[in-house]
Symmetry: C2
């Protein structure tokens, strides 16, 4: 255990838990906090350190927020009580939620007011990569923020994209990636079901298209779930109204027309309305199947 | 020269010319026909055989149509005069244009009425692959059609996907691929310009996103053209209103709602309306740039 590197993770969902376990595996004294007390107790049982935020904050080098959105990030950092005013000078906040660039810049400024560095650090890679300490991180912040964050980044990530010296650029790139990823899942769903109307079986779709110009990372990752009829959530449908909503909010602020994003957003909203929010996001294909009377693999008829 | 394998290609555009040259390289006696007499003369100068369709039709083993659409295909095969009624029994038509599956089935039936086999064989891969004899072909037809087409397929293709024993399945898979490819180019265009509004430079976009979950084959192929500001056409904007139009026609016939395809189609229509039809399809980004006052690399300001 590297006792002089005491860190805290806020948010122990599938991504945060992977981050926490990666820290423990690296010999870091790691505290994990979650509003769900059973999840928090489970992390402690697997080696997490004990103590309330108020008790341990002054000894922390690093705080990593792996919460759902901007509101939860702000609540952890500056709520009542927030952790940032309790941190020692020179500590760093690594903020991993997908947020608007403007929000990231505001958080950087407020952290700096307390002598705390802020790394805008949205993550990508899914829960498997998170558990393996192999996340991709789209990072932006001051050189001091990068330097302070290095021990944590080394433990949790495989690739750190350095996107510049001011917070916001990481969140901007993450929003760009989510725009594409969300539209590509919807395009795959549209294409695989369109093919079914013409007698193209989902398995043939996958086997041919993955070798053609129509392929995408998301198609190769998600289409097999439709072929198998297995919607056990790796990444939930619920992620997309949130993340594409952030993209559309940013776009609106910028006076940018994003018609494909807006269209995909609506399809995800239908999926949520159909009660599919907690299924794997490949379940977006069920929206298309229902709309055209198709039966996907594994469908109860 | 394999004199007993006499073939004819109709349509000597960038794809058809590549197909024709691949046949010549394989030692096949190949005739090339095009409505543009200079293009046809140039193919003969580079080794193509001489003679009008009426003069040579009865000696042909194989006809390959590499024309723009269904109307041109039908005109070559059954127009006044069409080639099919002049072909010997047992000859095969290899139809490469992107057409509706229903049209392919109708052509198969009409060819069979003349004792001619028909291979539904849309091609993919672009002009470079066509020239190299390395096309991907999404093929469907009777076993006799496949057998008769084999010498030609061997000369022009790297991969032949066998999509079944009836014409139409090849065209269906091609439509699925075009749906995805067209939407992905539009999504890339939307994302790269959205990023620019948030300070993400096109080059940073390409370097980061190609390593992330948001990537696609089309993004990796087309985004470099935007980064370079070079819209020399490899594949023209004009392809997409045609091909996505075919997808939307098929979808309408099938009672299938395809909102992303419909949205992408509209963006390509704007590009055509802006006079960009003959530029490379990466120029779709110019629609987004104009709509939000952005300057792409290479823009005259």
């Amino acid at each position: 255990m590297t006792k002089d590197k005491r860190m805290a993770i806020f948010g122990l969902g599938s991504m945060g838990l992977g981050v926490g376990n990666s820290l423990l595996r690296a010999g870091i004294l790691a505290h994990g906090f979650d509003v769900r007390s059973d999840v928090q107790a489970s992390f402690i049982a697997s080696g997490g350190a004990v103590g309330t935020p108020a008790q341990i904050a002054s000894d922390l080098s690093t705080v990593i927020t792996v919460v759902l959105n901007a509101a939860q990030t702000e609540d952890v950092l500056f709520g009542k009580p927030g952790i940032v005013p309790l941190l020692p000078s020179g500590a760093v906040v690594i903020s991993c939620a997908t947020v608007a660039p403007e929000f990231a810049r505001a958080m950087e400024s407020r952290c700096n007011d307390h002598g705390v560095f802020y790394l805008d650090a949205p993550i990508s890679g899914g829960s498997v990569k998170a558990s393996a300490g192999q996340l991709s991180i789209m990072a932006a912040g001051s050189q001091s923020a990068f330097d302070a964050a290095k021990p944590a980044l080394d433990a949790i990530s495989e690739t750190v994209f350095d996107l510049g010296r001011q917070a916001g650029s990481g969140s901007a790139m993450k929003a760009v990636n989510q725009l594409l990823a969300g539209v590509h899942i919807a395009a795959m769903s549209e294409a695989i079901t369109f093919g079914m109307t013409q007698g193209v079986a989902p398995e043939a779709f996958l086997n041919v298209i993955k070798n053609c110009a129509g392929t995408s990372w998301m198609l190769e990752n998600r289409a097999p779930r439709i072929v198998e009829g297995d919607y056990t959530p790796h990444s939930q449908v619920n992620i997309w109204p949130k993340d594409l909503g952030i993209v559309l909010d940013i776009a609106r602020s910028a006076g940018f027309s994003a018609p494909l994003t807006a269209t995909a957003f609506q399809q995800y909203m239908v999926a949520v309305g159909m009660g599919l929010g907690q299924e794997d996001d490949a379940a977006l294909a069920k929206v298309y199947a229902r709309n055209s009377g198709l039966h996907l693999p594994g469908d109860k008829r």
